[in-house]
C-alpha cells in the first residue's frame, strides 16, 4: 500500500515535459507501481490536451499532401511487445541501467551504504542507493529538491516510514537521517538538483569524490 505519493507540481511538470531527466526517471518509476498517480497523470495529460485544443496556427499549403505521401510509404507500427518484468526494478529503471539489479555497478560510499550513479542530464543527478538493513544514511539537509523512491525494503526518518513505491519529497526545509528497517536491505532511487548538505564533517569531505 503506497502512502507517499507525487505532488501536483511534479505530475504537472512531468505531463508538460519540463522536468530534468533525473526527476522524470523517479516520476516514471513511481507511476509504474502506483495506480493512483497513474490516474492523476492521465488527468494532467487531459489538461494538456484541452489547452492544446484552444489555439491554432496556419499550416503550410502542402502539409497534408506531404503527410499523405509519407504515410503511403510506411507501414503502421504494431504495439511493442511487453518486455519481461523485473521483480524489483520497473521498466524505466531497467532501461536507465541497461539491465536488472545484477547489472548495477555498485560503489561503496561508507557505512556499508553503496550507490550507483545513473547517467542523466546534468540539471539533476540520479542514483541508486543500497542501504543494509538497520544502517543509516548520514544526517543531511537539502539545498534543492530531493526525491527518494523506495524499490525494496523500507526506511524511516524523523517524519515517517517509506516502503516500496513510496516517494519522499525533501526540500530545503527537510533535515533528516534515514535509517533502513531491519529485514531486507533497502534499495532506493534518489534524485536531486543540488548537492546534499551533510552535518558531519567526514561525509562533507567525501562529497566531491562521491558526487552526492
Amino acid at each position: 500500500m503506497i502512502t507517499h505519493h507525487l505532488n501536483d507540481n511534479l505530475l504537472m511538470a512531468y505531463s508538460a515535459g519540463s522536468l530534468p531527466e533525473a526527476f522524470n526517471l523517479v516520476v516514471a518509476t513511481h507511476i509504474s507501481v502506483c495506480d493512483d498517480c497513474r490516474a492523476r497523470l492521465a488527468g494532467f495529460d487531459a489538461l494538456g490536451g484541452a489547452l492544446m485544443e484552444d489555439d491554432e496556427a496556419d499550416l503550410a499549403e502542402d502539409s497534408l499532401a506531404n503527410v499523405m505521401a509519407r504515410i503511403k510509404s510506411g507501414a503502421a507500427t504494431a504495439k511493442p511487445a511487453p518486455k519481461p518484468r523485473d521483480p524489483v526494478l520497473p521498466s524505466p529503471l531497467v532501461d536507465a541501467i541497461g539491465g536488472g539489479l545484477d547489472a548495477v555497478q555498485w560503489r561503496p560510499v561508507g557505512g556499508g551504504v553503496r550507490q550507483a550513479i545513473l547517467r542523466t542530464s546534468d540539471k539533476a543527478s540520479a542514483r541508486l542507493l543500497h542501504i543494509p538493513a538497520g544502517a543509516a544514511v548520514p544526517d543531511h539537509g537539502h539545498q534543492g529538491l530531493e526525491l527518494t523512491l523506495v524499490l525494496q525494503g523500507a526506511f524511516r526518518d524523523e517524519e515517517a516510514r517509506f516502503a516500496r513505491g513510496d516517494v519522499e519529497i525533501a526540500t530545503q526545509d527537510t533535515q533528516h537521517t534515514p535509517i533502513a528497517e531491519p529485514g531486507a536491505d533497502c534499495i532506493c532511487l534518489a534524485a536531486t538538483d543540488a548537492p546534499l548538505k551533510f552535518r558531519a564533517i567526514l561525509p562533507r569531505l567525501a562529497q566531491p569524490f562521491l558526487r552526492i
Partner: protein, 244 residues
C-alpha cells in the same frame, strides 16, 4: 465512468485532480453522477419513458459530439486504425494539425520547425492509431502526448521515460460506456478551462507551453513565487470542482 486498472474500478478524470474524493469515487458512491444510467427496477410505464429519455439523451449526446467543434475524433482514429480511412485522417489532420503547430510554436519552435514536427506528429498519429484506446484517453489527450514527446526531441529537452505499461492482459474491445463518459468528462474539463480567470489560466499555460518551472515563471512575469503557486493551485481546484 469507470475504468478498470488491475481489476480495480477507478473512475476516470473526475478523480484525477482531487485525492480527497478519490476514495468515494472508487467505491462507487458517486455513481449517481452518471448522466445516462437507466435504473434497472423502475416500474413499467416510467421505465419505458426513461428508456425513451435515455435514447433521446444518447441522440443529443451524439449530436453534440458530432457538431464540428466536438466531433467524435476517437471514432475517426478508430476508422484510421481499422480501415486506413484516408478521409477520416484528413479530417483529423484538419482539426489537430493547426493545434499541434500552435502548441509547438508557443513552446518556442520557429514556424518552419513547428511545421516539420507537426507533420511528424501526424504521421505518428496515422501509424499508432491502432494503439489509441478511447476508454483511456480522449483523442486530444492522446495526440497531445505524441506532440509533447516530439517537442522534447525537437527542442532537445531532458529525456523523459514513460512509465511501465499496465499489464492489461489480452486487450478487450474498449468499453463503450467508459469511452462515452471519458469523452463527457473531457468536455467538462475543456469548458472549465475556458471559464478560468485569465490570471490563473495563463499560469497553467506557461507551465505547459513555455517549459518553465515556477521560479522561472516568477522571473519572467515579475510576480512573486507565492502568487504563482497559489494561482496554479486555485486553477486546479476550480477544474476539480467543475468535474465533481
Amino acid at each position: 465512468m469507470n475504468c478498470r486498472i488491475k481489476g480495480k474500478n477507478i473512475s476516470y478524470l473526475c478523480i484525477f485532480f482531487d485525492p480527497a474524493v478519490r476514495q468515494y469515487r472508487m467505491s462507487g458512491m458517486f455513481d449517481s453522477f452518471q448522466p445516462l444510467t437507466v435504473p434497472r427496477h423502475a416500474p413499467a410505464l416510467p421505465h419505458m419513458m426513461r428508456q425513451k429519455r435515455f435514447a433521446w439523451a444518447v441522440r443529443q449526446g451524439l449530436k453534440r459530439v458530432s457538431s464540428d467543434k466536438d466531433k467524435d475524433w476517437g471514432a475517426a482514429l478508430r476508422r484510421v486504425a481499422d480501415a486506413q480511412d484516408r478521409d477520416a485522417f484528413a479530417e483529423l489532420f484538419g482539426h489537430f494539425g493547426p493545434r499541434v503547430k500552435a502548441y509547438l510554436m508557443k513552446s518556442g519552435a520557429d514556424a518552419a520547425s513547428a511545421e516539420e514536427c507537426t507533420q511528424d506528429v501526424m504521421v505518428t498519429v496515422w501509424r499508432k492509431a491502432g494503439q489509441f484506446n478511447p476508454a483511456r484517453a480522449s483523442a486530444a489527450t492522446w495526440i497531445f502526448t505524441i506532440a509533447r514527446n516530439r517537442r522534447i526531441d525537437m527542442l532537445r529537452r531532458d529525456n523523459r521515460p514513460d512509465p511501465e505499461d499496465l499489464p492489461w492482459g489480452p486487450e478487450a474491445e474498449p468499453d463503450q460506456e467508459d469511452a462515452l463518459s471519458l469523452q463527457q468528462e473531457t468536455e467538462k474539463l475543456a469548458n472549465a478551462l475556458r471559464e478560468l480567470p485569465e490570471a490563473q489560466r495563463s499560469m497553467i499555460e506557461r507551465a505547459y507551453f513555455n517549459d518553465l518551472s515556477h521560479s522561472e515563471i516568477a522571473d519572467a512575469t515579475g510576480l512573486p513565487l507565492g502568487t504563482i503557486k497559489s494561482r496554479i493551485r486555485l486553477a486546479l481546484e476550480r477544474l476539480r470542482h467543475s468535474l465533481s
